[in-house]
Subunit: 254 residues, 2 copies
């Protein structure tokens, strides 16, 4: 009997973002693996084993799920957002490449979800309206010089930029340094959006500018979008502003 591992993206922290495809996969799995707080978002189901793990053991978690699936079980790995964007799908693939031959024979399915960048953008308007990029500011997995090189490339290329993993207690200075770096290329009044806990009761979306961004509170659960020179802010009476980036390029300055 051949096993199956399904990597499921829950989307941001609200059930209204969980796709029917993801819901079905979670309901039919015999065992669930995942970071504890993500597993807590999946309804309890009798006879379904739950294997929560900590935040920093992605490799071990993927190995355990793959080994379990190899026994013939249908195992689901639960991920927040989209599993392919700074989440579990790449970790699972990495373990398959390095692991026993049997893991390559598994039926592996990855189910997409709404990633935080899309949810925060939607709440603010349409800031990702033209070409954009996503950069993780964590230098746990890559050197800071590479992040700086990507910040320079993104800003000089005129991309809108989304930051994942912007800051943590172990990485307190990187976000400020990233804003400083972008400030070498972008105007002080470039719009910057901070989005946190979209879809949850404590949702908070703040619109500021690049020169004030370093003063704006952020934590591990914050997703930040830095506009391009094309990004515009529409003020509205009694409502939050709409931030958007027109698809039509107004300028071609280098």
């Amino acid at each position: 009997m051949s096993g199956r591992l399904t990597v499921v993206g829950l989307g941001p922290g609200d059930d209204r973002f969980v796709t029917p495809e993801a819901r079905e996969a979670l309901a039919s799995a015999e065992a669930l693996y995942g970071y504890g707080p993500y597993l807590d978002r999946v309804p309890m189901r009798e006879g379904q084993a739950r294997n929560p793990s900590g935040n920093r053991v992605e490799g071990n978690r993927a190995q355990a799920a793959l080994a379990h699936a190899t026994e013939g079980a249908h195992v689901a790995m639960v991920s927040g957002g989209d599993p392919g964007v700074f989440a579990m799908a790449a970790a699972v693939c990495g373990e398959i490449e390095d692991g026993p031959e049997a893991w390559r024979a598994l039926d592996v399915r990855i189910l997409p979800g709404v990633t935080a960048m899309l949810a925060v953008a939607a709440r603010a308007g349409a800031p990702l309206g033209h070409d954009f990029c996503a950069i993780s500011l964590s230098d746990n997995l890559k050197p800071w010089e590479l992040i700086e090189r990507r910040l320079d490339a993104a800003a000089t290329g005129g991309f809108v930029i989304a930051f994942y993993n912007p800051i943590s207690t172990a990485r307190p200075w990187q976000l400020g340094q990233a804003f400083e770096r972008l400030g070498r290329h972008l105007a002080a009044d470039t719009p910057v959006i901070f989005g946190r806990a979209v879809g949850r009761a404590d949702e908070a979306v703040t619109v500021t500018t690049l020169n004030k961004a370093a003063e704006t509170p952020a934590d591990m659960a914050t997703l930040i979008i830095v506009g391009s020179p094309e990004t515009r802010v529409i003020a509205r009476d009694g409502q939050p502003p709409l931030v958007y980036t027109p698809r039509m390029a107004a300028t071609v300055s280098a």
Copy 2:
């Protein structure tokens, strides 16, 4: 009575990708606007007006929906994928900025969806596993030189690159030129994924390499992902390969 315009993303072409939030908004709307084939994906509902339009009239479509909402109605604008990624949300915001004051008073809500890049990536493995960008290859709305500048920036920055709107009958040469441009920076065996109609009966996902990418068939409905120097392909017996980009950077070469 104040009106509401909800911009709804259906995700790729299968109902299993439509979020509960999107479904609810579509069910409660009094009138639907959108590109015809997207409206066709929404179940018919008695008393709900449907206003389909062609592919190239985004501004007019947004204006009509905004004017209708200003009469006090709850209007939904239906978009494929995620409305904020090369779709209707930015067009709606642009019309609000340029339109009558009443449009700024509307309750405008944008509901995120699974964008094509995430769906194609999930089918292939985890190619967007580290920093990535999305570029529309359409030069209808921006000059080709700007696209080339962004291709250079993305490739030299080491981003994985997703192409939206890669080719059409009116834009036959741009895709080949983009691959040629990337070939100046990236190795010939860089993995390239072509994904089409994910979730539909005619779904097709092809994995090739950059030096052969120009020979691979593509059309308007194709989403293309070009790997970075870190992207890896795991061959599997009797199954399609898994393409993934490790989160851990192996090199820092410039």
